[in-house]
Each structure stands twice: as structure tokens, then as C-alpha cells.
Symmetry: C2
Subunit: 337 residues, 2 copies
DNA sequence: GTGAAAGCGCTAACAG
DNA sequence: CTGTTAGCGCTTTCAC
């Protein structure tokens, strides 16, 4: 690969000048500029991003920490984040923590500030302490789609009003006349869906309905867990006419459980999820769900991170994305009893 | 962030020595080693990966080019690739080309050899010429899950026997007694599924069945396209008892079309796909499909790429992964007429 | 064993 | 306007 100085000597100038024409800095004579450009073209010169990063003291990469990029929710976020990053001249490194704090910490220690200029953190089971530590070391951190507004994150974050998402789901079910509702709350690992559940409970309370504790299954955030839990719930409480799931994956599992139990959705039982992942519209019946603003959250997260990178020492404000939206599809309908 | 020389002066040695103990190179006196380690610990020193990359002339990153990481097939590949890369001390940069050759070329020009040491290419609509050019510039390229064994790739690649995958699917359907089979072949964009279709046709021929051209829909690789095409196919050919889809997404669309048409799967119509993406096991009925060795392909691709990186000028051999496997689930059954 | 010095490719003052 | 001069933080001969 040709270097700057090779281009320089071909053009009969010095590397500083070449750098200047390439970065459009300083003033360069029109003819030398042309000469340099010709040399660049002739040699097929491309700037060495690693060298540039070292010299500038700033790498053109951002890291995205997720538990697993194969989790159906992350790819859409990652796509939006990568696009936003690239639109700003940055590249995105994807790190799968596998929900293992040790792996996560190792990633942070390795790349934060040394290879990537900042880090976006999705639900990757990283400790706030580790994150604060990497922030103190100079690599900005942005929590993405933060769900616990009451627990001060102590770190910049993009928050989504998951309480409202839960409330919307609850109101939808109640509005349809459902009085016996089962709930699927995940994930067990980090109890991160508590906010959604609280929102749902608040909707019940507001309608004067009470939700008995034993109608809630605390489960993992997966189709399989939703499937099993729904079967158990329906066996214990045959009178249920609806299922509130704190996430789409368990909701989809509930759909399958209903089908395998010979129940018709939504005639016999209504099911609602939260998030609106890709599959939600593709299941049969298509899943009614509360869409969360994933794309805008990703864009905001990248914007916030870039802000923090450009202005070190900035205060760590929390930004909030658009309100979740009910997406009414075919898995919910009026209560029949 | 503390630097090597800061650690060095704390330990009362020179940076070369610190480097030696950290890289476990050369011989270092046991006591100096301990002293250095203590200093590293005390300062919380972490090697600056960008600086190291520049000095070593080798970046610790690999790039993965995909059309869109949100396409349901890529995340599983990306997960496996990232794990394999990280197991070898490399980080993975994800690049979404959006199927746009211009975007793809820009990515290659920017990072290949300057920020990432090599590039993995999934179906990203990049021209072979562009790829060969980046290879010539010194950044190894590995084509992942290459499907056209007859068209010499001229580039190192991991090939999957998609012809056999198609044949397996065809044999399965024929073995079940199906004589009137419709075919969904995608994607239209790059005609990349031809091999799968050929395999399917060969299975028909081997069984003495002929597949009329007008029973094939050439479509995009999506659930929606599969849905529409299945409806059209079924309308034009009501006698069809099975659908062969060259990919799972259209197969899932076919499943939905059958459901919306009031057809029971597999009693009225059998449907088979190829790939075995995550959703395949989650649909109702669960999709019978021919699983492709995604994970091993990803691992082999990373291994090949690392080989090429470590041994420049190596011959570009094609490596082949495991044979596709039939995964019999609930969407296929005996022909009833 | 350990240190001195050069250099990876580029940027960023500062001179001229 | 353009060239000179230092580095960025680390690795790597090559002496001592």
C-alpha cells in the first residue's frame, strides 16, 4: 500500500502538503493540489486509518456490546447504529458478551479507548461499575434503551419509556374487556423487564382490576420459556382470556402454546407482546405488540456518543426517545366471556 | 490512559523491557518482571491496540461485509464469526452494504488493510473485481458460503453444497409421494439460488418427474415475496401438494399463504425451505428445512482468513463445509392425492 | 537481561 | 502557500 510520503515524492511535495490537500485543511496552491491529486490517483493511495487514528489520538470506531448479536432484537438496532456511525465516518465493532460479565469486562478493557473511541451498551450484563470505570479512563459510554428511570444510571443513556409500553399493552387488553389476564415477565437474568410489568400493573389498577401475583410467570426472555410458562399458566388458570408478555419472544411462544393447546387466537385467548421485532408481523396470527422506537434509539445513542467523544467532560444527560406505539395486529381481540 | 513508558519509569526500566514482559518475548529477569507487572497493575495499564497495530503493521480487526445485519440469516453467522475472531484476538467490524455496490466499494477502500486486516464477504452484492482489487492491495478476502462451484470464484472461499441442499429437499418431497410441486427461487437480485434450484431439479429428474417451468416463481428472498408468489402459484396450479423454497424466508411466507388460504399444512400442502434460520423451528407448523452449516462455515471462514493473513501469497484454495442436513419438522407430510 | 534508537504512517504546530 | 520537525504509543533490532 502506497504511503503519504510516496504520494508526496511523486507529486514533488512533502507529506504535510499531501495531508493538507487530502484533509482540505490549510491553503494549498491550486496547481500543487492538482498535482497531488493526480499522484494520489496514480498510486491508488488510501489513507491508513490506523496510522491516522494514532496521530489524531482518536480512532474511527465505536464498539457495540450486546449479549448476542443473534438475539432477534439486536440486529435491527445494530443495523441502525452502524448506519448512523458510518454516516459520521465511524465503523462499528460488534462485541458479543454472551451475558458473561467477565467476557464483557475483558472487551471493555481491551478496546475502550485503545481501538474504539466509545462504547454503546445494550443489555449485555455488564456492571455499572465496570462501565463507569471505562468512562473514567476516557472512553465515553452510552447505555442504550435503558429501562430503569428510577434507578439513576449514573451514565449517559438513551431511555425508552417501557413503563408506558407496559401500560399501553395493559390498557389495550383491558379495553378489549379482558378481566382474567396472565403475565409473562422476563428476563429472569437481570429482572430488566420490571418496568414494563409495573406499567401493565398500573393499567390494571387504573381500571380497578387487580392482577393476582400467581398469574405471573417470571421467565427467561425466549420463545421456549414463553411457551412453557403459558402452558403452565393456562393449566393453573383455565379462565384466562389474555396474556400480557413483557417481550415479543415470550409472546410468540405463547402463540405457539395456544396453538398446541388447540386454543384459537384471538377468539379463545388474546396475546400481546412488547418491542415489535421482525417476526411479530410474520407469525400467524400476526402479533399485536407495543412497538419500541429501536431505530431512533440507535440513532440517538450514536449521536450522544459522538457528542461525548467530541466534548470530553460533558455532563451525562439522559435522553428519551419517542413513546412506544401500539401495533394492533391479529393476536388480540374482544374478551368472549 | 497510562502509556508503556509511564509504566517503564515507574518500574525503573525502559519501555522495551515492559513490552518484553507483556508480550512474553525475550528473556526478562524474574525480579524485573515482577516489578514491571506491579507497575502495570498499579497504573491500570492497558496496551493501546491502535498503536500496537501501527507498530506491528497488523490491525487486530476483521471486517464482515453483509447486505444488512438485520437480514435474519446473518446474525447467526456474525455471532459465530465474531466468536471465532475474538478467540483469536481479533475484533469484528460489521459493514452493511445495503446491497449497494458503491457503498460496498467505499467500505473496502476505506478499511481493507488500513483498519481491518482482512475481510469476510457474505452476499453483499460486491463485484468480484472490487474484491480482487482489495486482495491485490494486500488485504485477504474470503467469500463466505459461496454457492456457485461451477463459476470459479477466483478468490478464497468457503463453499456450501447448496446443490445438494436443493437435492435433499427435492428428494424429501418426492419421497413423500409429491408429484405436483411448486418452486420458489430467490433471490432475484443476484440469482444466487440457482444452485439450490438445480439440485432440486436434479432430484426430480432422478425420480423421473419433470418440473414444469411455469411452476417456479423467481422472487426476492423475503417472507412477503414467498407469500405472494405462493398465492399466485396455488391459484394457477391448484393441484400442487408441495412447495420447494430455495430459502427459509419465502418458505415461511408460503406457510402464511397456506394458512390464509385455509389450507392445512402439511395435510393439504407440504412446504420445505433451505437454511434453518432461527424462526424455522418457531413457526406453526414448524418448518421442515435443509440446514446449512452456518456456524462451521463462519468458523472456517475466519480460520481461512487468519491463515491468509499470516501467510501472505498463499494459494487461494476453496474449502468446503459439512453437507447440509434435512431437518424434518411439521411442515411436510405424505402427499394425499 | 536490559537499554538505546529507529520507525510504523499520519497529523499538527511552527517556520519560512 | 509549503516544508521542517516532532511526536502519537508501541515493537523491534541491535548493542552493551
Amino acid at each position: 500500500m502506497p504511503t503519504l510520503s510516496e504520494v508526496a515524492s511523486l507529486a514533488g511535495v512533502t507529506s504535510a502538503t499531501v495531508s493538507n490537500v487530502l484533509r482540505k485543511r490549510g491553503k494549498v496552491g491550486e496547481q500543487t493540489r492538482l498535482r497531488v491529486l493526480a499522484a494520489v490517483e496514480q498510486l491508488g493511495y488510501r489513507p491508513h486509518l490506523t496510522a491516522r487514528a494514532l496521530a489524531e489520538g482518536c480512532a474511527p470506531t465505536l464498539a457495540l456490546m450486546v449479549s448476542s448479536i443473534a438475539n432477534p432484537f439486536y440486529p435491527e438496532f445494530a443495523l441502525a447504529a452502524e448506519r448512523a456511525a458510518h454516516a459520521n465516518g465511524r465503523f462499528l465493532i460488534v462485541c458479543n458478551t454472551n451475558d458473561d460479565p467477565v467476557t464483557g469486562r475483558a472487551y471493555l478493557d481491551q478496546i475502550a479507548g485503545t481501538l474504539s473511541e466509545g462504547v454503546l451498551v445494550m443489555n449485555a450484563n455488564l456492571s455499572i461499575d465496570d462501565l463507569k470505570k471505562t468512562e473514567q479512563r476516557g472512553a465515553p459510554v452510552v447505555l442504550c434503551m435503558w429501562e430503569k428511570p428510577d434507578a439513576p444510571p449514573e451514565l449517559p443513556c438513551i431511555a425508552v419509556d417501557f413503563f408506558e409500553a407496559g401500560a399501553i399493552a395493559g390498557r389495550h387488553l383491558i379495553g378489549l374487556g379482558h378481566q382474567h389476564i396472565g403475565a409473562l415477565v422476563g428476563s429472569k437474568i437481570n429482572g430488566i423487564h420490571a418496568e414494563r410489568y409495573k406499567g401493565y400493573l398500573s393499567a390494571c389498577a387504573a381500571a380497578g382490576q387487580k392482577h393476582p401475583q400467581n398469574r405471573t410467570g417470571y421467565i427467561e426472555d425466549s420463545v421456549e420459556a414463553g411457551y412453557e410458562s403459558t402452558k403452565a399458566l393456562l393449566k393453573a388458570h383455565p379462565q384466562l382470556t389474555a396474556i400480557f408478555a413483557s417481550n415479543d419472544l415470550p409472546a410468540l411462544g405463547a402463540l405457539n402454546a395456544a396453538a398446541d393447546l388447540g386454543l384459537k387466537v384471538p377468539q379463545d385467548i388474546s396475546i400481546i407482546g412488547i418491542t415489535d421485532i421482525q417476526w411479530a408481523r410474520l407469525s400467524r396470527p400476526a402479533l399485536t405488540t407495543v412497538a419500541v422506537p429501536t431505530v431512533s434509539a440507535a440513532e440517538m445513542a450514536v449521536a450522544l456518543l459522538l457528542d461525548l467523544i467530541s466534548k470530553p467532560g460533558q455532563s451525562a444527560a439522559m435522553r428519551i426517545t419517542a413513546t412506544p406505539q401500539l401495533i394492533e395486529r391479529a393476536s388480540t381481540g374482544p374478551a368472549t366471556c
